[in-house]
Symmetry: C2
Subunit: 433 residues, 2 copies
């Protein structure tokens, strides 16, 4: 059963027709009500009436995270404050945070988006969803929460942390769906086993991954540990929050709710549109947002779009899971490397754990990469020869994947700090200024 | 303007009539659907049809926190799991936690309760509410959140902690209503001043106090610091969450929403009903709860009820703010002492801060109380004589309030750990087993 068959199974023509109408309306509202768009469009000489086809969106300038920061706190709102009922915010680790504003209708739409997502994951009113995402200004917790309320499952808003309590509650409540970041999921499984509980015995039906990049190999590992399928959930605070796109039972891409978002893929270097199937930076436009319509947002996330019809019956375009970000790419000796490539490699090798850190340094004017990898407890206290062999094997595999020879150190099991949120994968010690 | 005039301004006769109908229905549902009530009522030989008047509630047994614990996790639910959409839980520091289950209608009712409360505080759709209560299994954050969405104000779900960011957001967003515990409010004011920001300059319209006991003197102090009225918010996870009772503009008691809750006051020692105005333990009964109807819950909170009509125009009974709990009462040399009594005393004395800790010990088979009080920075480095005078003055005042001589120590300003949640007021070092 598909949550909203009328929307999710529309023909491509209907989608395009609806998108064009909504795009014209969104651009008009943004132009009329948000000084940022008004100034920018006027300066470039492009106006709402210039949008005659969906392709005309290319005439409009991009909106960047910096643009949003400059309008801090409420400069991007398109309605009077009285109509805003909730705000969220992305983290402000560098500079001012971005504030995202929601009207009551925006919250309803957000609930609908995430309800579709939970439905894609096979989660419904009979399920108990344990939500380990943080609540607060961050949208992770609330998106799942609103979606769960909409589908009518029981939501357990436990939030991050308290790992032993998480496990106790999974068992005691009979949790059927877990929402976690992949790295936290691995950690939960590890602690459960320490407590003498086989994660398989919990009887999960579905796992939702959010807020972190991961690889197919990581998915397999977590699915094995919990004996449950794991689905990707994608979203951005700027555009709405989790639920922009979610993976269906086919597990080979995330359906973007195209009646709410218009996706494009561009070459991040020149901004040119890329074709279906080509990898590039995802650009998203809000088609239905009242409180804060974002037009052509540069997500910095790298993916590709696929329009062919999905086995699940849904017609919305699918995006690949995010394989990198234009800004967490490490450039070493001119080669672009993503942490996901290292992770993918490690998951192919026995006797090592997918817990790793990439340390980039420049000791003698030349970049060096060291990859610290946890050995499995089985081999760590074994003879040295075995360790040397594994180390060399990892170095070969990584070289094969990224085209560079790196130094690998096998370190003691559980010596890399476990994160209850996003794992720290890269430590860049170079002075890049 | 009163949020729900029809309900909140009913005549006493109408209230009683509605309460009786709802009580009969609640007891019937509990008896039919919850094994705990069924067994207990059957054993005592009391049945739903025995409730012919409101006074007949006295025939029913009390429900204690231990009863709820024993039915962990879902034993108190009165509907099939499919109908539950959200669960919360009280902290499980001692024994199993209590799980509270909500149907969709329960969440709507909770929103309505807290909307009435925010309206009593003068908060409406033009306001920006910064909610420093924690979100998660705890009900503090969500109760305020749902109420704020209902009245249509902007809710900033910032949650606990990050004090400097809290202050930045108050300033940047133009927050008009703050929700905090009194001790966290004091701390916020202190940090704001350290940052060179006068808390008065923020321009708050209202403050909501939750989750902690406080005194009139503490309220005056916080109102002075922020130049805004502060209102008490009362609630319990077991019965619903914040919003069970909230203080109105008269600031002399909290209106209990009597169409949702039936309050009684009993003598905690023998369970006998006490009259209007008499201090005792508050007993609460859910009149409208679908997911988990709680009948005659022993809150352990000490208060009194007042039925005279309020200046604000609302007709619901008022309860005094909580002045103690039957279980945080310290018994020393046979005298019952509440931390609130110490606090009240300190707030009457110049040159000391309302940051204190009560240390109870039994060094030579006799109980001793030491009260550590922070001196204000103005006097702490002054001459010893002045300090000795203040110390003696506090000892006199406390003796006057509680009838016992205690030892007071004046300690360095800011040396008592500041809490971002509930302050730790009592350290009992006696071995009471
Ligand atoms: Zn699909
Ligand atoms: Zn009143």
């Amino acid at each position: 059963m598909i949550w909203n068959e009328e929307a999710e199974c529309m023909s491509r023509e209907d989608i395009k027709e609806i998108q064009l109408k909504k795009l014209q309306n969104a651009v008009k509202k943004a132009y009329e009500n948000v000084p940022y768009y008004n100034k920018k469009y006027t300066k470039l000489g492009v106006f709402p009436e210039d949008i005659g086809t969906l392709e005309d969106i290319a005439k409009l300038p991009f909106t960047t995270k910096d643009d949003l920061r400059e309008s801090y706190p409420f400069g991007m709102f398109a309605v009077p404050p009285k109509k805003i009922v909730e705000v969220h915010s992305s983290s402000g680790t560098t500079g001012k945070p971005v504030v995202s504003g929601y009207t009551r209708k925006d919250l309803d739409n957000w609930s609908e988006l995430m309800a579709r997502g939970l439905n894609m994951m096979g989660v419904g009113e009979d399920d108990i969803i344990q939500n380990t995402h943080g609540y607060g200004l961050f949208t992770g917790g609330f998106g799942i929460h609103y979606g769960a309320q909409k589908v009518g499952s029981i939501v357990v808003p436990i939030s991050t942390g308290q790992t032993r309590r998480q496990i106790e509650i999974m068992k005691d409540f009979g949790t059927t769906a877990m929402i976690f970041t992949p790295s936290y999921g691995l950690y939960l499984a590890e602690v459960a086993k320490e407590e003498g509980i086989d994660p398989k015995s919990i009887g999960l039906k579905a796992i939702g991954f959010g807020a972190e990049m991961w690889t197919e190999e990581m998915r397999k590992k977590i699915q094995d540990q919990f004996r449950a399928p794991a689905f990707n959930i994608y979203g951005l605070t700027e555009l709405m929050g989790p639920g922009v796109a979610v993976e269906c039972s086919s597990q080979n891409g995330l359906h973007i709710s195209e009646d709410y978002f218009l996706p494009e893929i561009i070459d991040p270097n020149n901004g040119n549109k890329l074709d279906e199937g080509q990898k590039g930076e995802l650009i998203l436009t809000n088609l239905e947002r009242e409180g804060m319509p974002i037009i052509r947002f540069r997500t910095k996330d790298i993916t590709a779009l696929h329009y062919e019809k999905c086995d699940c019956g849904r017609c919305f375009v699918k995006m690949d899971r995010i394989t990198g970000r234009t800004d967490d790419m490490i450039k070493v000796k001119g080669v672009a490397i993503f942490p996901s490539q290292i992770e993918k490699t490690l998951l192919k090798i026995d006797n090592v754990e997918p817990h790793y850190q990439i340390i980039v340094s420049r000791p003698h004017l030349l970049d060096e990469i060291e990859v610290k990898v946890e050995a499995s407890p089985d081999i760590f206290f074994d003879e040295v020869k075995e360790m040397v062999n594994i180390k060399k094997k990892i170095e070969d595999y990584i070289e094969n994947e990224i085209g560079l020879r790196v130094k690998v150190s096998l370190i003691e099991p559980k010596s890399i700090p476990r994160s209850e949120g996003k794992a720290v994968r890269v430590i860049d010690k170079r002075d890049l200024h």
